[in-house]
Amino acid sequence: MDATTISLRRRSLLAGAGAVGIAALAPSAAKAQAATPLRFGLAMPLTGSQATYGQDQVRAAQWAVDEINKAGGINGKPLAAIVLDTQADAQTGIQAATRLASVEKVPAFVTAWSDVVKAVAPIANDSKVVELSVGANSAEIAKLGDYVYTTFPLADVDITAVARYAATTLQKKRAAVLYINNETGTVAAEIYRNVFTKAGGTVVAHESYDPKATDWTGTLLKVRIAQPDIIHIQGLVADTPQVIAQLRQLGMTQPVSSYSAAYNPKLIQQLGAAANGVIATSLAPGVNNSPAVAAYVERWKKEVGREPNGLPYTQYLYDAPYLVAAVFKSLDDKKIAITGENFRTEMLAIRTFELPLTGKLIFADDHTVSKPVYLMEVRNGAWVQAAVVG
């Protein structure tokens, strides 16, 4: 045996060992390839004044992601949410959205709070990344550009329903509108005034208050002097119960209506008996309308020890990953690259989504969605469904 033969044998041996090694590594590489997660962004307030609601919404979305992955993911690939904090602040939101689009390179991201949704719209449009607004209700959201869509009905849907309900079903003739002076309040207050007036009523007081206000006595006294027979409050989740409490303290016993921000178990805890008669809207089915929602609320009670803050909003957030997963699956089935442009095209091609907690969602051409409005009323210390509109 000469040196060449030995060398060759060594080479063959090494080559053989290498081949075995590669062959051994191949399945795990294939597995890793298969396990590459399909990612989307979640830009929500995790800190700051809105964190209580943002954190519950993120928890709901994360539960949905886990459920999807437990059920096998998307054609075997796991779904992953990249969660970033917006503090419900436009500037922080811009930085989060820019990072999602350019660093994380997600094809779509979910966000909420009207200021943030509007501020990050140019980033979504420029980067061709789909922005899904889930929970913000400013009417302007429908006009923010080709890549901005909402899964949540905008202000005109529930405010129209509650104003009409007051004028026609409750036969109220004189309404007072008390609204927070920001995007959420001003636009919706105007919608309420127009709808209530068209339905034959008169808006006898149309008063705004500062978002940082902690005392509403002056504004409420103006409302009391106007002698309305119903008071509509268009505030935020945090201030609405306080306004109602002060209103009752001032001896105003008129029925109070609000919108989805007031539909919150905390409102009853905070107001006690004063909460009775408060009417709010919900844009998602409640525990009595859907066994899935009942099971979802039970899960909250079991795992977190309470109901979620802003239940309907968390339902929409829970459903958002299902929508994203459906689009991802469709793209993956068709072997189309998952980019923002393709995500948008496929989402519009599918157009109708059947979602677990909020039901059917259809994307309209004008970037709006329509949903039934559940009118809820506090009776004997509990939220009860008073009517369903639409």
Partner: protein, 293 residues
């Protein structure tokens, strides 16, 4: 890459704001915290001129700076006659009042903010061009303010700030000097506002509130009051730090409080350990009382 550009543009804008704020409160000794409102006036004026009146963006940005300058003269004429605490109260009032006006006007977009602001450079030459533009303006601002502060006018400013009575006794008009300092600082903040508006294309009154004032004040104090490079270091550090923290991937329950604790600790540490800031002012600018210590 766009993320990097966004962070650099924000740093450049904060450099302009911190340097001009330092010019007003540090070099000029004018205790005002209304700086963000001139930033807002510049942003709104520039955005509205370009969006609703079709003014070319570059001219709109310059006009934004000019309008902020004129607004500051209006405030200065009424409130610089008083000084110290009264000026501080006057400036807070002006800031809150102006923001309330913006919130309640229909044509400013109200509380919901102003969107659909025309972009500049990014669509034609790419975001890099805008980065270069913002950085160039920031550098020119710093050099201009340094040139003024270190020249004969700077010496006069120092004299006026240290002893207004002696300064007036020398036949100099302190009021005119105060208005000039205030107008220049505020005009530069307005210019930064215009640059912000045409890159981010959305502005809302909440972005220019008292929280923004405290952020700017922290940048200037931590960086070093009355020094050329201090506010720049402060602006860059305090803009980069929160961004860097988010990349650590800490849970949100830790991240939020951590950011708050970090900022508070920084201010406290600097107050006790290094009151002169990261970069100390040169001897001439330290003031008589500090010199005597």
């Amino acid at each position: 890459m766009e993320y990097f550009y966004t962070v650099v543009i924000l740093m450049a804008l904060y450099v302009i704001l911190a340097a001009s704020f330092n010019f007003v409160i540090g070099y000029g000794g004018l205790v005002s915290i209304a700086h963000p409102v001139f930033y807002a006036i510049g942003a709104y004026a520039s955005a509205l001129l370009a969006r609703d009146m079709g003014v070319p963006v570059i001219l709109a940005i310059l006009a934004g700076g000019l309008i902020a300058l004129l607004a500051s003269v209006a405030l200065a004429l009424s409130s610089l006659r008083v000084s110290g605490d009264y000026l501080l109260i006057g400036s807070i009032g002006f800031q809150l009042g102006t923001l309330e006006v913006i919130k309640n006007l229909h044509w400013t977009g109200g509380a919901g903010g102003l969107s659909n602001i025309p972009s500049f450079l990014t669509q034609t030459l790419g975001p890099q061009a805008y980065v270069a533009f913002a950085v160039a303006v920031a550098m020119c601002t710093v050099l201009l303010l340094r040139w003024i502060a270190h020249g004969p006018y700077g010496r006069a400013m120092s004299a006026m700030r240290d002893d207004e009575l002696a300064f007036a006794a020398l036949g100099r008009n302190a009021m005119v000097m105060k208005i000039t300092i205030f107008a220049l600082g505020s005009g530069l903040a307005g210019l930064a506002g215009g640059i912000y508006a045409h890159y981010f294309r959305f502005i809302a009154p909440g972005q220019f509130d008292l929280l923004q004032s405290s952020a700017l004040l922290t940048m200037v104090v931590v960086g070093g009051l009355r020094s050329t490079w201090g506010p720049i270091v402060g602006a860059i550090a305090l803009e980069a730090l929160p961004q860097a923290i988010t990349f650590i991937n800490l849970p949100p329950s830790v991240l939020g409080p951590l950011q708050g604790i970090l900022f508070t600790s920084l201010v406290l540490i600097f107050m006790f350990v290094r009151p002169q800031g990261l970069i100390a002012a040169s001897a001439r600018w330290r003031g008589r009382q500090e010199e005597a210590r």
